[in-house]
Structures are given as structure tokens and as C-alpha cells.
């Protein structure tokens, strides 16, 4: 390994005079509101997976479940239990540990993003290589890359010599890393992951103190990129037309959106009742996955859906609150980054389900079916719980 790479990722900053490594104070308990909100949402999420998935599991149109109606539920529940364990374990590690391994996590993420592109390791589904099959389970390297970017950018920003003053040179390594991640994701391709990672990266730079003019410039650049993408790729154009008028091709490009709107709309104020969704009977695609929120809306109604959104909002606000009260800058950065990641997933997922933005595959944290994604989310929340333990109690 070249010394440049070593310098970039394998640094040893444990002897830095920084609060992150201050082990002289005993760590307190985890933040109870945050932990409780997480567990409540996780429980509701697992129940919703049962409700949303049993029709597809029973009819088994893709020959995966063998007609076992609780196929998805049982797996999700097991992962949720593991997830609680993972969260607990992650909350035990000191923040200094996370800061110390930040570069390694980033490096591992990049390595896996490369590996997933290798035929034989990466599984090709619908013309995209996003999954690595470990035999007992599959996972998306992009999920790890999100944490990687959060941790790595936080660590970089906290390093004394990396002041984000606005110089191009100072920005360069962020841009290189972000560019590398996004470039690899383009090769998969994985549009929604790119969006989220870009947003996370920008938010980290924003929190790190990058002058606002850069963001104005970035917004202009991003907008023009979008315009170019719209002009060049019919695929992007289709997404936009399907977004603007999904009913124009309700059985083709607009199908998912139309079905999702039917689900949400037919929920009404009080919903059809838990378990009574009709749209989940193979009308709504990805009903236990990206569109699980539509089933929530259909079954629990406006009241139920709003309750869950409020719980998410509280969790997010609490996450930012914890970040703002973090003992040290690294913790604050990581906390705000993870919370932003959580917020982005929730907001974008609900926005897609309600056709507020063009359709793209973004899962709903703690709800959408998917084992490794859930474990990683729980790990992220565990890190927030870990930093919460360093917050001194009010006098």
C-alpha cells in the first residue's frame, strides 16, 4: 500500500489531543428517548412487514417463498432481534474507536464497491450489480459506503490540519473519495445510493464549515448535471414523465406510482385496518420493501401514517439534538451525519411513495424488508447511542 493511501486512510490519531479520546470520564447511559423511539419504530416496522408481505409470500409469484406466508416476516423478525443486539454492541464501543477506524471503514467500503462489480461476486439483478452474496445472506456495499462516508468525512474534518476554509486543495480529498464512491456506484448502477451518498457528503462538508458559496456553486452544478442527464438519458426522462403524469401509462412506467397512490389514497382517514390492505394482493409492487409505507397508509390511514411520521420526526430531531450536545466535534459530526442519513431515507422514501419526487428505489429505515440493511441501520443508531453516553448529564 502506497504511503499516500496510508496517509489518507490508515492514519493513527489516537494520540491527538482531542475529546474523542478522552476516556477519563465514565460514560453514562444511552439516551433513553432515542433508544425507545428506535425500538418502537422497529417493532411497528416488523409488524408491517408481516402485514405487507404475507400476500406475496403466500402467492409466491416469483418462486422464492414456497408459499410460506410468514417467510419474509420470520426473516425480518430474526434480523430485527439481531439488530437490537448490534445496536447494543455498537453503543458499547467508545467514540474514539469509531474515529480510529473511520478510514478503514471507508477503505473497506471502496474495496467492496469494487468487488461487487466483479462478475461471480456481485449478483446481477435487473441489469444492476448491487448485491454481494455471502451464501447465508446478501448485502449492498453501498449501504456500508454510506456509513463509511459519514465516519471518514467526520474524521477528516476533525483532523487539525484539514480545516475546510474553502481552498480547492483542502477540498480535494473529499471530492476524490466522493467521486470514487459515486463513480463505482455509477458502474453498478445505483442511482438512489448516489443521491443519498452525495447528499450525505455535502451535509458533512456543510457541517464541517465549508463556506456557503460552495454550496451555491454546487447547487448550480448539480442542477445543470440533472439537466444534462435529463437531456441525454431517456431513462431519466421517462422517470420524469412518469412522475409528472403517472396515469398516462398506468400499466407501464407509471404502474408502481399509480398502485402506490391507490394504496395511500384508499386508506383515507382511518385506513382499512391493520392487515386489511387490498393493494398488497400483488397489485402494489415492492409492497414489503420500498413501498411498505403505502401499505402503512392504506391500512392505518392518515392518522396512523402521520403517527409513524411523527415518531420518525422525533427520532430525527432527537438525533440532531444528541449531535448538538455531543461532547466532541467528531461525535457531533457523526451523529448529525447518521441522523441526516436516516432523515434522507425516510423523507425520500415517503416522497417517492406519495409521488412527490420522481420514483427511485429508496428503502424506509426500520420498516423495509432487508436483513443486512436493517443491521447496518441498527449499527448506525447504535453509534448515536454511543455518542449519547458521552453527553454529560445536566447539572
Amino acid at each position: 500500500m502506497s504511503s499516500k493511501v496510508e496517509e489518507m486512510f490508515m492514519y493513527d490519531d489516537t494520540r491527538l489531543a482531542d475529546y474523542t479520546y478522552d476516556n477519563s470520564i465514565d460514560r453514562g447511559t444511552v439516551d433513553i428517548p432515542f433508544a425507545l423511539l428506535t425500538l418502537v419504530l422497529l417493532t411497528v416496522g416488523v409488524i408491517m412487514v408481516l402485514s405487507a408481505s404475507f400476500a406475496r409470500a403466500y402467492y409466491d409469484p416469483n418462486n422464492t417463498t414456497g408459499g410460506n406466508a410468514t417467510y419474509y416476516f420470520v426473516r425480518q423478525a430474526l434480523f430485527a432481534l439481531c439488530g437490537v443486539g448490534v445496536m447494543f454492541v455498537c453503543s458499547r464501543f467508545p467514540m474514539g474507536f469509531y474515529r480510529h477506524i473511520s478510514g478503514i471503514v471507508m477503505l473497506v467500503s471502496l474495496a467492496m464497491l469494487v468487488l461487487v462489480l466483479v462478475p461471480g461476486i456481485g449478483e446481477k439483478v435487473n441489469n444492476a450489480r448491487r448485491w454481494i452474496n455471502l451464501g447465508f445472506t446478501t448485502f449492498q456495499p453501498s449501504e456500508i459506503a454510506k456509513i463509511g462516508v459519514i465516519m471518514y468525512f467526520s474524521a477528516l474534518i476533525c483532523a487539525p490540519k484539514n480545516k475546510l476554509t474553502g481552498s480547492i486543495k483542502g477540498l480535494l480529498r473529499y471530492v476524490i473519495v466522493l467521486g470514487a464512491v459515486c463513480g463505482l456506484l455509477v458502474l453498478e448502477p445505483h442511482m438512489s445510493a448516489i443521491i443519498i451518498i452525495l447528499v450525505i457528503g455535502l451535509v458533512m462538508l456543510f457541517l464541517g464549515g465549508l463556506p456557503l458559496r460552495w454550496f451555491i456553486g454546487g447547487a448550480v452544478a448539480g442542477g445543470s448535471l440533472l439537466g444534462i442527464g435529463y437531456a441525454l438519458f431517456p431513462y431519466v426522462r421517462n422517470r420524469f414523465t412518469a412522475w409528472l403524469n403517472p396515469f398516462a401509462d398506468a400499466s407501464g412506467t407509471g404502474y408502481q406510482i399509480v398502485q402506490s397512490l391507490y394504496s395511500i389514497g384508499s386508506g383515507g382517514l382511518l385506513g382499512l385496518g391493520l392487515g386489511n390492505s387490498r393493494q398488497k394482493y400483488l397489485y402494489l409492487p415492492e409492497e414489503h420493501n420500498d413501498f411498505i409505507f403505502s401499505v402503512v397508509c392504506e391500512e392505518l390511514g392518515f392518522i396512523g401514517a402521520m403517527l409513524i411520521l411523527v415518531l420518525f420526526a422525533l427520532l430525527i430531531i432527537r438525533g440532531y439534538w444528541l449531535a448538538m450536545h455531543a461532547r466532541d466535534r467528531y461525535s457531533a459530526m457523526v451523529g448529525a451525519g447518521i441522523t441526516t442519513h436516516l432523515a434522507m431515507q425516510v423523507i425520500l422514501n415517503v416522497a417517492v411513495c406519495t409521488n412527490s419526487i420522481p420514483c427511485t428505489g429508496i428503502s424506509l429505515p426500520l420498516f423495509s424488508y432487508g436483513g443486512t440493511a436493517l443491521l447496518l441501520q441498527m449499527a448506525e443508531l447504535g453509534i448515536i447511542l454511543s455518542l449519547s453516553r458521552d453527553i454529560p448529564e445536566k447539572r
Binding site: D22, F206, C297, A305, I317, A323, I347
Partner: protein
């Protein structure tokens, strides 16, 4: 050195800007975004709820049709004219075939074997795997359906589906096809009664509404299922009498052949007292079981038309179909010609313009105010002095012009209106045409009486046959204009009468006295000396009627040749009219058995034959006048095994003559002709006493152009016998025009040949 916390501007702890920016994110991601999403949810779930819910429900519910049984159409004696039987539609679900991994080739070969369809076609259908419904065969009968069901069940094929449907049957084939109409593939009426009473006949289909998943199968735990029972259609009892209709069509068919009718024929039989239509026919007809198929002649016309493109061919075919589906008795208007003189006569008598004592002079022509040339009578020599009855008998145009002018244009139109000739009759069939008359200002023009003149003998206006027979029925029945109708009763699916139609009197047009007088005069038109309608004479019945010959002016402009419609309207009996018959023979051709194309020579005999069959059937007893009975054919009694003496006595009592006795036995062992044969009275019979019957074939002689008596004698020479039809009347102008067995045919001795008698006098063959 780490003890101190949160020192200002300490690079290791979060600085103010960071906190500010985190707070900003908290507000944006934790509050603002969620408020926006909440608003969006409110819009979708509360404001637009109904729209999305109904759209979702529509896709989630699947309806299965339960077809209602279509009602039956009965004739007035409850014979079934049209009925529905349940059949099945066979269809496949290519999507399910794929989903359940069934073998499309196996299904295609199985179905093609059972149903006798093309394998490749069915196989092709299985390839549309996104489809859930692809019809293989419609209206499959029970036995085949059963085999398909077996095939499906034995091989557990979910992709093969059977659906209930129904098929319409018309047991009598072409009989009354224009009245009945037909139904399309959707089991809804497209013409005739089937169309007019479609709502009533078709009932309401039932439905099964189920919530299903996107693949069309069940929705677990949501056992939502709603049944709406099918309400079977009601049945209708028509006024059509199958037997009367049969006679009508039989004699129209004969007329079409005898008179070489190029454009077919039309006829109506009406109960004059109720307006009920007992029979209605239009030639050429079609088989409602197979209404798309055109007749062989039409097919030939199409194929000889030398069309260039498929499109032209289809156009021609469509034209032929429309032609065969047209009910001419109802949808076609024509100039009624002299038949209309019945109306002028009744109007003249009822209005007091003329009386039975009025006399007229016909010099062959008459100057009419407003006409540049004089009006000619069909008899250019003129009828001379004539009474009102004679004017009718001779169908004198001059006399009727005078009657018309005595009535006056305004009064004439008042009666026309009263007779319902300005309006559609309102008969319960679709497509009734309306009449066309001169407008009042033209007709009432005092300076030009030519329109009135022409109208008084039935020209320069057009009406429909149904209008004419309805109006004439009013003349016959005592003056009451009836609303013609076809459906007398509506029955529910259990046969209980739901509603019943009583005859509807529209109004009284003429007095009963006028009606009686008209009947007396019109009887003379058939039975009077030198009358024009003699060919409608039926022995034993007092037939009234009037001839009519109309010329289709438009046809002459288009085709260059004349087209005549030879018609006759008859009703009987004169003293108590029961039934009226109108027959239109359209466009007689060159191969007609009678020389002249006229109402008297073609319309009258056809109506006569129809009445001859229909009157006895309707229970009207024949009452023979003086000498009439002797002219009626007699039934040959059975004399075999009787003694010769007894046989002789019996035969003579029945008006037969024993010509010879073969053999010397004491008892009759055989007779010629056979027992029960109906032959001319006075025929000479041969008796065999012990000898064998002589069976040497004989050539049929020519019997045409003879009087009935001579024909009987001529046949007798060859030991053949005649029976007569047509005008069975003693007159030297009544001659045979047709023999049922062609000249030269080899027949056994004793064969009975039917000869048709027709009045070939000048009056009876006139175009009037």
C-alpha cells in the same frame, strides 16, 4: 489537560457554526420536510380519497357475468318461434397457462381436436402470456362443452376456461324471419321483434363481484363476494299464427316462382277486427339462425359482379345482407295504385259525395283542371255508363277521378288523416317507414285538381303496405281504425301472464253502414261479371277485394325498364269480414306463367289461394252458393272390398262416374284413383274386380290453356285425374295456367295432377 470542557474556539469541540448548521438541518429534515409530507398525505388520503379509492376498488373487484336467459317468442298458439338454449364459450388464459407451467402445445392440440379448430390458431393465442382472456370458441353446444370440461379436469388445466352463454334458436328456420328478427353475438336483438322487445326479452344479467388479487384469483381473508341474481327475460306471445304464416309464405314463394318475381314479394295477413297481425312476410328472406349468410342467388350476384377489391366485395355483401333483412311490408313505401280505390270508395260513400245509386260515364279519357293532357282510363275504349259498383268492379280510373272531385281535396285529406295514412301505424316492430303525400297547399289548389285526381286512384303518393291494410281493415270491420300489433301477451319466466294487450281502436273513420256497403261492392269486384278481381275467388267463400298495379317511377329512371308491383288486397267473408290479406308481387319477369303483370292476374290469385287455406283453418265455414258445390273437388271414397253395386252407388252419390269395370269378380279389389284422393267432381273412375292394377307408366299430357272441364276430360283419356286450385268457377275465360306435373313426365295411371285456374279475361289481366 482534558478536564476542562467546551472551551471557546476549541477546535476539538463543536463550534458555533457547526451547531447552527446542525440546528438548521434539524429544522429542515426534522420539521419542515415532515410538514410537507404530512400535507401531501392529507391531500392524497383525505382530499383525493374517493377518487383513489374508487379507482383501486375498480381494479380489485372482478365481475363475472351470469347471463340471463333470453325470453321465448311464441306464436299465438304457443308454438315456439324463437328460444334460447344455454351453451358455453370456451376461452383460455395464456397468463395462467404460463404461471402454472401448463403445456400450451398440449392444450392447443386438445382443444383443436375436440372443437375441430385450427391447432396453429389456438397455439398462437397461448403465446400472448400477458392476457387473461382469449376466446377459443363461442356458443359451443353441451356435448362438446362436456368433452372440453373432461379434458380440462383430467389434465388439471387451469388455463382452460368455460363460461356460460346462451344461443338463440329459431326452430322454424326462415319462417317469419322478418317479424322475428335476429340477435347478435352479444345475445341482443338486432332486428324485428328481437330488437323491438329486446329489453323485455333479454332480462338483466346477473353478476358475481369478487375482490381478487392482481392475478384474478382470490383475495385471502377478504372473502368479499356479492351475488346479483340474473333476472331471466320475459317471453312474448305474438299474434303470428305459425300455420297462417306458413300458408302466406308458401303462396308468396309460389308467386315468386310462377310470376318470375325479380324483387320478391311481400304479404300481410291481418285480423280485421283487432288489428292483430297473423302473418307478415317478405321475400327474399333469411334464416335468423344464420342471418349473415345470404341466399345462393345473392351469392351468385356478388360473384358475377366482378369486384376488384375485397372492400368492394364486402360492400356488395353488406348490401345483399341489408336487402334480405328488410321487412318490405313495413319499411318500404310504394304507390298503392288501384287498391287505394277502396279508401276513395269508402270516403265517397261516407262523406255523402256519392251513393250506391250514383252513375258515372267513362269515355276512356277525361280532362282534369290543371292537366295539360287528358287523363286516360286503363281501358282506352272507356267503360261507358257505369254504376258505383261497376266502377269498382272495372277499377275505372275516370269514375274514381270523378268521385275524388266530388269529395273535394280538403275532405279527401280529412279522411286520409282519419284512416291513419299520414302517420305511422305504430306497429310494434322497428323501422316502420312513413308515408309521403302532397303538402296541403299543393293538394288544395283549386286551380289544379290533377293531384286529387291521381290520388283518388292511388297514385302520386307513397304509403307502406302495413298502413294500407290497416286502413282497409277499418273499411271492412265496420269503420274502426285499429292499431296493428304483433305482441298480445308478455309472460314471465314461469309462464304467468305479466301483461296482455287488448286491441286498440284508434278511431271510428266511417260508419258501419258505409262499411257494409263497401263490403258488398268489393265482393262484386271478385265475383261480379267481368270484374277485375275474379282470380281471388274462393269457392264457398264470399271474398271482397281490390286489385292494384303500381309502377315504380324511380326504377324506370334508374334501370330503363318498367317495374310493376302487382298487388291485391282481399278480405273475407263479405258478410262478416274476419281476415284481410295484402300481397305485393314485385317486378314480374319475363318467365311468368301469366302474360300480363297486373294485380288481377298475379296478386288476386295469390290472395285467393292464401284465403282458401287460411279461412277454413281459422274456422270460417264455407257456404256454397247455387251450383258452386258441383264445382268443388270431391274426395274419392274407399270402395275396395265393397260389392260392385255398393261401390257404384257410393261413387255416384259422391258425384263420380264409373268409367269401366275391369275383371269379372263380384267385389271391388282395386280402385283408380286411390281412396281419399281429392279430384274434380264428375271424374270417371275405374274399378277392378279381381284383376291386377295396370301400372304401365303414362306420359303426362299438356293440360295448359284449357278450361277445368276440358282438362278433366283430357286427363281422363290417359286414366289421370285433376284437382283444381285458383278460380274454381265456370267461365270460358277461366283457364289452366299451371300444372303441378310437367308435360311428358312418366307417371302411373291414377295419378292426380293439380292444375291452377286463372281468369284470363281482359279485365282480370288488366294492369289495374
Amino acid at each position: 489537560m482534558f478536564k476542562k470542557r467546551r472551551e471557546k474556539n476549541d477546535p476539538a469541540s463543536p463550534n458555533r457554526m457547526m451547531l447552527r448548521r446542525t440546528l438548521f438541518l434539524m429544522i429542515v429534515c426534522g420539521i419542515v420536510a415532515f410538514i410537507a409530507l404530512g400535507a401531501r398525505l392529507f391531500q392524497l388520503q383525505i382530499i383525493d380519497h374517493d377518487m383513489y379509492e374508487s379507482a383501486a376498488v375498480e381494479q380489485q373487484l372482478r365481475q363475472t357475468n351470469v347471463p340471463a336467459q333470453r325470453g321465448t317468442i311464441y306464436d299465438r298458439n304457443m308454438n315456439i318461434l324463437a328460444m334460447s338454449a344455454s351453451v358455453s364459450n370456451i376461452y383460455i388464459s395464456p397468463a395462467e397457462i404460463k404461471m402454472n407451467k401448463e403445456d400450451p402445445a398440449f392444450i392447443a392440440s386438445g382443444l383443436s381436436n375436440i372443437l375441430g379448430l385450427d391447432y396453429a390458431e389456438i397455439y398462437e393465442k397461448t403465446s400472448h402470456t400477458d392476457s387473461w382472456y382469449s376466446t377459443v370458441a363461442r356458443k359451443v353446444e353441451d356435448d362438446l362443452t362436456e368433452r372440453v370440461r373432461q379434458f380440462k379436469e383430467e389434465n388439471n388445466l387451469t388455463g382452460v376456461k368455460i363460461e356460460e352463454a346462451s344461443k338463440r334458436y329459431y326452430p322454424y328456420g326462415t319462417l317469419a324471419s322478418h317479424v322475428l328478427g335476429f340477435v347478435g353475438t352479444d345475445d341482443h336483438g338486432l332486428a324485428g321483434l328481437e330488437y323491438y322487445y329486446d329489453k323485455l326479452l333479454s332480462g338483466t344479467d346477473g353478476r358475481i363481484v369478487r375482490a381478487t388479487n392482481a392475478y384474478g384469483t382470490d383475495m385471502m381473508f377478504t372473502d368479499f363476494e356479492d351475488y346479483y341474481d340474473a333476472v331471466d327475460g320475459q317471453s312474448i306471445v305474438t299474434t303470428i299464427d305459425e300455420t297462417v304464416q306458413h300458408y302466406l309464405e308458401k303462396h308468396l314463394d309460389e308467386a315468386a316462382v310462377d310470376y318470375d318475381l325479380q324483387d320478391g314479394a311481400a304479404g300481410i295477413v291481418m285480423d280485421v277486427n283487432t288489428g292483430a297481425i297473423l302473418g307478415m312476410a317478405s321475400l327474399g328472406d333469411f334464416d335468423p339462425n344464420d342471418y349473415m349468410t345470404v341466399s345462393e342467388e345473392a351469392q351468385e350476384r356478388i360473384s358475377t359482379a366482378m369486384v376488384d377489391t375485397m372492400e368492394d366485395y364486402d360492400t356488395l355483401l353488406a348490401e345483399e345482407r341489408n336487402l334480405q333483412w328488410r321487412n318490405k311490408a313495413l319499411t318500404e313505401t310504394y304507390e298503392p295504385g288501384s287498391v287505394f280505390k277502396i279508401i276513395t270508395l269508402a270516403t265517397g260513400l261516407d262523406s255523402g259525395a256519392v251513393t250506391t245509386n250514383s252513375t258515372f260515364f267513362c269515355g276512356g279519357s277525361l280532362n282534369v283542371l290543371g292537366r295539360t293532357d287528358p287523363l286516360n282510363c286503363w281501358n282506352v275504349v272507356g267503360h261507358g255508363n257505369e254504376t258505383l259498383t261497376e266502377a269498382a268492379m272495372f277499377s275505372c280510373n275516370i269514375a274514381f277521378t270523378i268521385i275524388g272531385q266530388k269529395i273535394g281535396a280538403e275532405r279527401f285529406y280529412q279522411y286520409i288523416r282519419a284512416f291513419g295514412l299520414f302517420d305511422r301505424t305504430g306497429v310494434d316492430l322497428p323501422g316502420e317507414a312513413g308515408s309521403l303525400w302532397w303538402s296541403d297547399d299543393v293538394f288544395f289548389n283549386k286551380a289544379n285538381l290533377s293531384q286529387l285526381a291521381a290520388a283518388s286512384f292511388g297514385q302520386t303518393f307513397t304509403i307502406t303496405p302495413i298502413q294500407l291494410i290497416t286502413a282497409v281493415s277499418a273499411v271492412a270491420n265496420g269503420g274502426y281504425l285499429m292499431e296493428p300489433y304483433l305482441v298480445s301477451k308478455v309472460l314471465d319466466d314461469e309462464g304467468t301472464v305479466v301483461s296482455q294487450r287488448e286491441p286498440t281502436v284508434v278511431r271510428q273513420v266511417i260508419s258501419e253502414q258505409t262499411s257494409r256497403t263497401c263490403c258488398e261492392i268489393l265482393e262484386q269486384v271478385v265475383s261480379g261479371q267481368n270484374a277485375t278481381g275474379k282470380n281471388a275467388y274462393v269457392a264457398g267463400y264470399r271474398v271482397c277485394g281490390k286489385t292494384g298495379t303500381s309502377e315504380d317511377v324511380n326504377y324506370e329512371v334508374e334501370h330503363g325498364t318498367k317495374k310493376y308491383i302487382a298487388s291485391f288486397l282481399g278480405f273475407a267473408p263479405a258478410n262478416d269480414p274476419q281476415v284481410a290479406v295484402l300481397v305485393l308481387c314485385e317486378n314480374p319477369g319475363p318467365d311468368s306463367i301469366v302474360g300480363s303483370a297486373g294485380g288481377g292476374s298475379m296478386g288476386a290469385p295469390t290472395v285467393g289461394k292464401i284465403l282458401q287455406d287460411v279461412l277454413p283453418y281459422l274456422g270460417v265455414q264455407p257456404q256454397y252458393g247455387e251450383g258452386e258445390e258441383a264445382l268443388v273437388d270431391q274426395r274419392m271414397p274407399r270402395v275396395v272390398s265393397k260389392s260392385l253395386e255398393e261401390a257404384r252407388e257410393l261413387l255416384e252419390k259422391n258425384g263420380f262416374v264409373v268409367k269401366s269395370v275391369v275383371g269379372s269378380g263380384a267385389a271391388v279389389t282395386a280402385q283408380l284413383p286411390a281412396a281419399n284422393a281429392k279430384i274434380a267432381a264428375g271424374s270417371e273412375v275405374i274399378l277392378y274386380c279381381g284383376e291386377e292394377l295396370d301400372k304401365t307408366p303414362i306420359q303426362m299430357p299438356n293440360l295448359l290453356g284449357l278450361s277445368y272441364e276440358i282438362a278433366k276430360i283430357r286427363a281422363g283419356w290417359d286414366n289421370l285425374y285433376v284437382r283444381g286450385e285458383g278460380v274454381m268457377m265456370n267461365s270460358n275465360s277461366i283457364l289452366t295456367v299451371r300444372q303441378s306435373i310437367e308435360e311428358g313426365t312418366l307417371v302411373e295411371p291414377g295419378t292426380v295432377v293439380t292444375v291452377t285456374l286463372s281468369d284470363s279475361s281482359y279485365a282480370a289481366t288488366a294492369r289495374t
